[in-house]
Symmetry: C2
Subunit: 218 residues, 2 copies
Amino acid sequence: MTLTEENYLKALFHLSLENEEVSVLDLSKSLNIKMPTVNSMVKKLSSKELISYEKYKPLTLTQGGKRAAGLIIRKHRLVEMFLVEHLGFGWDEVHEIAEQIEHIKSQRFFDRIDQLLDFPKVDPHGSPIPDINGEVAIQNYKKLEECHEGQQATFMSVGSSQDSFLKLIDKLNLKLGDKIKVLEIQDFDKTMRVLVNNNSEQTLSQLGATKILVKLNV
Amino acid sequence: MTLTEENYLKALFHLSLENEEVSVLDLSKSLNIKMPTVNSMVKKLSSKELISYEKYKPLTLTQGGKRAAGLIIRKHRLVEMFLVEHLGFGWDEVHEIAEQIEHIKSQRFFDRIDQLLDFPKVDPHGSPIPDINGEVAIQNYKKLEECHEGQQATFMSVGSSQDSFLKLIDKLNLKLGDKIKVLEIQDFDKTMRVLVNNNSEQTLSQLGATKILVKLNV
DNA sequence: AATTTTTGTTAGACTATTCTAACATTATAG
DNA sequence: CTATAATGTTAGAATAGTCTAACAAAAATT
Ligand SMILES: [Mn+2]
Ligand SMILES: [Mn+2]
Ligand SMILES: [Mn+2]
Ligand SMILES: [Mn+2]
């Protein structure tokens, strides 16, 4: 499989998680590639039985396509983790590099990284690292936005890897695993005042709170 | 610059070190790409002022081409070193992976690896790592083959990265930095009996001794 | 139900990299 | 110094991946 094909599969995989149905237009937008190009690549991947394609119908990955995509995402996330843990990169700097290294052809290379990291289950953004069969564990975290005043939760994952969002989280001194207690929610604009790890008070916009994924503490 | 262009420059660089003059045929053989293809790529790189090209004349790198090639080789060798030192690869396993990773677009990535390795000067095969300007230090080591009976030398570099050769060196338990004393050279076939680090005796064929590069001990 | 908008497809073209076949030049060997 | 061999070049075609322009189908609006 070529780097290009791999990127199409990965994009379709991600879109399929976010949306009920995925169109050629969706894929086109997500890859920043014009529709006719996507159309022909989809046909090609369909002929390789990685994508199920019927004219004018939504796109889906075949079993094989899902597995292939999962394995690429596995490599991507292992690399991101490695870049943060061993090369000292910030979590806002690793995506672009991982986007390239995920295409390296060497099973062994990724196995070693996995081993060096002691077989991590999540990447630096809290996203699950698919297993050796490309299988992705389903996380069902809650958006912090959905929490009520007084509730306590643990910060498990980010809902966006946008640079500006990650940098904001850094600035608020929030880290995965932190305990977040909702102190107050403004009626007017849903702005949240929260207590982090029982010691630092922070304010979050509603949009920000949407992208902070948490597990409620019992 | 594309991966393909980078590989052409690198190949020409290496050939230029080994031979007085480099022909289109040499480059073609070394890249395993047919001559007409090489011919057109050479023209393209010439138009980018990376290669000096005149019809029917030997090929040379321009100043810029040399620098570009040096920088790619720098990345290649840093990666090889990293793979050996931090991911536990054998020196016979790293070339293929480095061949891919050398094309990753991220200055910072290679800077971090350089730092993590504490700015190494040589790769796992004893070859010099070009500096940040692509400048390669010239090593002038002697072939062990040229040493006389009784001489002592230090194993500095290998003259071949062929898998079978590297594996042989491993089997003989020879490592870069080892002290080698020439005990005896057979008149008949130039086979060498040597003493390694004053404790293990080994036998080397003439061909083998040609590929072991050493610095004479005074 | 007819019209408009959105989405999808086809056709044709372009660049990058590669190839084979044919021809040209240079080098080598009588 | 010619004939042959080796090397180099040109021409033309193929594949992968991309694009624009034009047309077609499906969905959304009157
Ligand atoms: Mn990422
Ligand atoms: Mn990618
Ligand atoms: Mn190498
Ligand atoms: Mn390479």
